[in-house]
Point group: C2
Chain length 132, copies 2
Amino acid sequence: MKQLKNSKQRTIILEALRLNCNHPTADEIYKMIHNEHPNISLATVYRNLNLLTELGIIKKIPIASSSDRFDATMTEHYHVHCRKCGSVQDFFYEDFSASKAAIEAITDYEVIHQDLVFTGICPQCKNETKEQ
Amino acid sequence: MKQLKNSKQRTIILEALRLNCNHPTADEIYKMIHNEHPNISLATVYRNLNLLTELGIIKKIPIASSSDRFDATMTEHYHVHCRKCGSVQDFFYEDFSASKAAIEAITDYEVIHQDLVFTGICPQCKNETKEQ
DNA sequence: ATATAAAATGATAATAGTTATCAATTTCAA
DNA sequence: TTGAAATTGATAACTATTATCATTTTATAT
């Protein structure tokens, strides 16, 4: 296992993600920090987001047909993804909390985390569809 | 809405997916059919998989850090994804069945489908780790 | 059966997202 | 303070997916 060393860039990237609760993509984080830190490269953003994900400090949210998104909120929660506008929103539903042990029993996997992504149409997009 | 017309290619692609329960990627389906149908192009495979997904005939499974996978099993079920070997396996857990209505109530989304992907380490990879 | 319009295709170019490369810089334990 | 390992920025390379477009196929109306 590789011995981690501190890096200012990693700290800045993690703080930027923690300030943005809209599940930004790597590129969105790059743009967030670029004004104040124009010398941080996109590759460094990707590198650190992946590293932080491997370390379990943040989560990567896979979304069908679009970029991966990242999430620094590690308290248990789940996501709904709007198929129309692409937004991702958090929600919590207590019934899922116990499921980890159940899934491990059913599948014999060691479950690291639960990416429960519900795909649908968000309230705003539902209204727009009606109005047309 | 576009008026669909039959195509032999679409039938072949859908049948290939229905024969492969390992949640293949678009490229894997292309390779499955390529020997017998060398004139079906990769673009046609992508086009039809996306079209079938939009029609709700198959599902696209988004997996972090890898290609989208496809699934023709439309009876309700969920997935576990091995972070080491990348495999995706089905499972069913009845407690999730009622969740759609609950999530709609919580989020006010119109939920189209549930991509419940649990990430972890599969039984085989767990054993390999121990043996090292 | 034929003509026609719409849909679909194959081949390939283009794009987007992400990762790899590598010389230079930074970190940190000895 | 030194040296090895980790990290970086810049950019090339790569992979997955989508767009383009001339051609072919499909299905409908005649």
